[in-house]
Point group: C2
Chain length 231, copies 2
DNA sequence: CGCGCTTTGTGAACACGTGCACGAATGCCT
DNA sequence: AGGCATTCGTGCACGTGTTCACAAAGCGCG
């Protein structure tokens, strides 16, 4: 079956859901479930069954009609498609509150994103150990990225320092950035950036909270990142 | 002009961008800028100018042709639409790494979401002070929510405890939840939930990183949460 | 061995979001 | 006062994403 890789393009919305399916499938596998239907997976993921089938169909025809999907096999296929067949070490810039929390967050390592290093511009912060990783000075960034072959950087600095952090990451050779600072980063073409803005999430909730006048009447549509759900 | 409030529905995608515009407008205001064009705001936000105009048009016709938008007035209008005319105290469940980082994150309070309380189920964690707030036991949740009139809860627990945390928040009277645990929460109808899954964001980056073969050729479309940008 | 039940995979319709392009409104300059 | 440059507001076409609905495919049972 693995004759060739066609590199069909997968819709952005689907890419954002695949990690969710993957997590649920792994959980099911751990619980001994060997096979699952699109209906079952849809229920777990809180989405429509047709959507699950269409999403999975982008990977290929890996289901069995009348039966469902073999969990272990599907896990393998989703992992392969997402590029999770090997680890992606990440480097964190900024050892403040958030940077420390991220460095100590086990979910990263567990899901294939070990923290290769954490750096800060503040000499006072250098040296302390967080989540088993020693904080180093930002001048060592290139060295870390190069020696550990890091391609993903995380910006966890104050807003004012975020653009500089991104610039340094790019110069060091990183090609993807996850930005937690509430700032629109400017990066060269070809560098992927994703943004997580905690306050923005709260402000969106505020919007719906504010117009919650006829109690519990409106439904909040989920956006394509699997956010926004109401049950 | 403020004759009546029509309560026109604003598209989800627009709601997700308004907080970004708001932040940029406030920044511009602080720098003394009094007026801004859709083109200018679009550049700052990294989006299309037509999109900015259409987004803002949902609030009403607050621009002046040939001139642009008055920054201070627009800030007021966006705030009003997002329900940010008053503070929304939040309560954080889970005083682990992430919960502590969130409690200590000044961006919350600054942007109108003061931390009314942080609770944990672990007695050992109770009592310590984070970001000026004392950690209390989860049994005090209802009391905090009620006395501080909290309607937004933040779930920052380990995955296994997340559903229980959500249940408790709902029982305590919270109507919106921001969930950081990698779990699909089940909540009653009418409760808004938004999810932020850090590992999912990395996995999405991994997908694009993995197929980065013809270097820097593909463009990553932004999703409607203002994430995913490449320049 | 074939019939009926289940569930996939996907075409087609629909809903939603984006971007262009242009009329309409406004300020400025002469 | 009139014309010109600018920028908003929006109709329209396009693209993307979602959902329905059904034929095709496979399993199990009698």
């Amino acid at each position: 079956m693995p004759v060739e890789r066609v590199r069909r393009r997968i819709p952005e919305a689907t890419v954002a859901r695949l990690p969710v399916y993957l997590r649920l499938l792994v959980e099911q596998g751990d619980e001994g479930v060997e096979s699952i239907s699109s209906e079952g997976l849809a229920e777990l993921a809180g989405v429509n069954a047709a959507k699950v089938r269409k999403d999975l169909s982008y990977l290929g025809s890996y289901g069995t009609r009348g039966v469902g999907y073999e969990v272990a096999f599907l896990v393998y296929q989703v992992r392969r498609e997402l590029g999770l067949t090997h680890d992606w070490p990440v480097v964190i810039v900024g050892a403040g509150n958030l940077g420390q929390a991220l460095a100590g967050y086990e979910g990263f390592g567990e899901r294939g994103f070990p923290v290769a290093g954490i750096v800060d511009i503040e000499p006072a912060k250098v040296g302390s150990v967080i989540g088993g990783v020693r904080v180093r000075h930002i001048d060592d960034l290139s060295q870390i990225v190069q020696s550990r072959r890091v391609s993903i950087g995380v910006v966890a600095t104050p807003p004012a320092a975020a653009q500089d952090a991104a610039d340094r990451l790019v110069r060091a050779g990183v090609t993807s950035i996850l930005n937690f600072a509430p700032v629109v980063l400017a990066v060269p073409r070809g560098i992927s950036v994703r943004k997580v803005d905690l306050a923005v999430e709260l402000q969106i909730l505020s919007y719906y909270e504010q117009r919650r006048v006829p109690v519990g009447l409106h439904a909040i549509g989920s956006n394509d990142s699997g956010r926004g759900a109401s049950a």
